[in-house]
Symmetry: C2
Subunit: 401 residues, 2 copies
């Protein structure tokens, strides 16, 4: 296996650090638009299987050329979701398999955005499935932590815990705080605004996919690991589009534990139009208000050593157990920031995202997982993946509700 990671930001660098401890590949190319960033990531692992390169992720041709130059067999896309399609297309053009952690972006319904879906997350990738199948190549989409591990949990529940699933509800929350800042998000605020203010998508078996108001249906979910109750709201997320394709469930939702304070901040930014990406004129400059919000807040990638707390990703499944009686379980994965900083020098949220595609690559290298076309994580047997996580030293758990 010869891997190309596109993007040497937080997640790409963490994935590189995790991969450096494994031996399932012979070559690992780390590419970024900023070559010096890729070089720093490669220098940090000090391992001659690793090579830095420069790439323009907005160009499928550039991605394909880099694949060919290094005989790449697997492309791991670790850049901003705006570049999903060119990296995805570049991999196929070069005859490589492909993995990503976020899917092609949605576009809201033109006239009824808070009730009907428009172009859904991943639609543009699933449209290309016949081309991937006929080329005999695999695109494993949404294989970070959420989507990713959360989808694996859903498949595990369907195979081993339930005879009937009424609802799969992803619930993500944490208690990370950044010391010394009045307000400092633990994840890219640009992306958080994008996913939280897009119309959230919900799946129901007899209705199909539909949308709701942003930040709607608040509920308080009690997270494990000492995190405790956090206010969660509907958010647009890939699991809702992926899980129903392979797992039989009455309803699929994603609720994000933003907490009351962050929800209020997002509502205010939206009310004032400060979430907008459309440039406004300010003096002689033209700037996007959302970029200004990102510029005034501290960069979360640089805050790992000032953070304290844990992040939790998990899947709440409700239905009938194997014995036909009502059952509800929360399958989850916790990362303590202190642990991930000490062990890998990576912030918890970033590390928790990055470990999953490396586990998946190892299963693909061994042939434990295989397939062609455009497939989600729940298209594969969950057990070897969950076993591998334990082997990587980062266990998952089950809580009966």
């Amino acid at each position: 296996m010869r891997v190309l990671v596109v993007g040497a930001g937080g997640v790409g660098s963490a994935a590189t650090g995790i991969a450096a401890r494994r031996d399932f590949y012979s070559r690992f190319v780390v590419a970024d638009y900023d070559l010096s960033r890729a070089e720093r990531t490669v220098e940090a692992v000090a391992d001659d299987r690793f090579v830095a390169a420069r790439v323009d992720a907005s160009s499928a041709e550039a991605v394909a050329a880099l694949c060919r130059a290094h005989d790449i067999t697997h492309v791991l896309n670790a850049v901003d979701p705006r570049f999903v399609l060119p990296v995805f297309e570049g991999a196929l053009a070069a005859g490589a398999d492909y993995l990503d952690m976020a899917m092609s972006l949605s576009r809201p319904h033109a006239s009824d955005p808070y009730r009907q879906t428009g172009v859904k997350l991943g639609d543009e990738q699933f449209e290309a499935a016949p081309a991937w199948e006929s080329a005999g190549r695999l695109a494993l989409v949404g294989i970070g932590v959420e989507p990713g591990l959360s989808d694996v949990f859903a498949r595990y529940a369907a195979d081993h815990l339930f005879s009937r699933i009424d609802e799969v509800g992803i619930r993500d929350g944490g208690n990370l705080v950044v010391e010394g800042y009045e307000f400092a998000p633990s994840f890219s605020v640009w992306t958080t605004i994008e996913e939280c203010l897009n119309p959230p998508v919900i799946f129901e078996k007899d209705r199909g996919w539909y949308t709701a108001e942003p930040l709607s249906e608040p509920e308080t979910f009690d997270f494990p690991g000492g995190i405790g109750p956090v206010e969660c709201v509907h958010v647009e997320h890939e699991e809702v589009l992926l899980i129903p394709r392979w797992v039989d469930a009455g309803r699929v939702t994603f609720k994000y534990g933003l907490g009351r304070e962050f929800i209020d901040v997002l509502r205010t930014l939206h009310k004032l139009g400060l979430d907008s990406t459309k440039p406004v004129r300010v003096g002689n400059a033209e700037v996007s208000p959302r970029d200004v919000v990102a510029a005034v807040l501290p960069d979360p990638a640089t805050l790992g050593d000032k953070m304290k707390g844990k992040t939790c990703a998990g899947t709440l499944v409700t239905g009938l157990g194997k014995d036909g009686t009502p059952r509800s379980v929360y399958l989850y994965h916790l990362v303590d920031n202190e642990w991930s900083m000490r062990e890998y020098g990576s912030q918890a949220v970033v590390w928790q995202t990055a470990v999953n595609p490396i586990v998946a690559l190892e299963l693909l290298a061994a042939g434990t997982w295989s397939g062609t076309g455009v497939l989600g994580p729940e298209a594969f047997d969950a057990v070897p993946f969950l076993d591998k996580l334990i082997e990587y030293g980062t266990p998952w758990e089950i809580r009966e509700q």
Copy 2:
């Protein structure tokens, strides 16, 4: 009397429209940095006493030169408070009297900003009082509605209603809504942020001036005219600096009826640093976050025809009445936006600000009001001013509490 209005924005234009119906002056020059804006204001009144001019309000020399060119006797400053000092200095240099509606800006105490005052509102103007006195010229500062009419009310209460004043509390609120916008302030958001997030100043007779936390001591005040209860908080305002100089009161405060929603918006902007005027780098541009907030919101000066509701400015006075028994009265002035739009084509808040300096100019022209030095509205007899307001068709009222 030959008047120069500096600034043809909302207030300057409204003042021009109000003055056009009066005959106490022979010349009225309307000047703006943008000559075309001044020309539009002059064209709207179609009266040959009015002339448009261009001026740079940041230059005392430019203001003085324009005064000399038109033999100006009185300068009315209607620009942003950042330009108070050059307009104030330019008027004195040219031997003209001066009026403004906001005073020179404050600077917080360097080490203890939320308990002690630093440079206070108007300090830099009062320091120049000896120069105005020796030149025999008058600077009548803070003669809009608040400060302005609110100060006149305090003087009226001291002269005619009370034998002892325990507290003068300015209370400003309204129920203006802008149709078709989720969030649209009815007054300049830049100035609102400035006054609401600066440390508010409070006066107590035995303690002097001191400061508090922004937006502190929320109270619900029941406004008249059908407005009803609105949440009010401490805000930095000129009255607190002016009233104690001429009126004997135990305590002076200013509380602004921002309402819960606006208070939350201001708190969020502050928490994120979006209230800052310090430029941040965004791509290749450098912008001040507060300017971006102003740029994404609709311009309140253009929204008069979409607004509905009333604005109320008033002074709550508590103490002992002339008969020595406890008394509490609210002296107030209401403007209905529908009335001000129909009668003058001006939005209510802007019109309510603009009428007061025109009344004051008329009293100065008649010699009813006279003086030298730097004086607040409460330095003059309140009765002729309040009578004149009624003559202008915009009555004030008293409510016993």
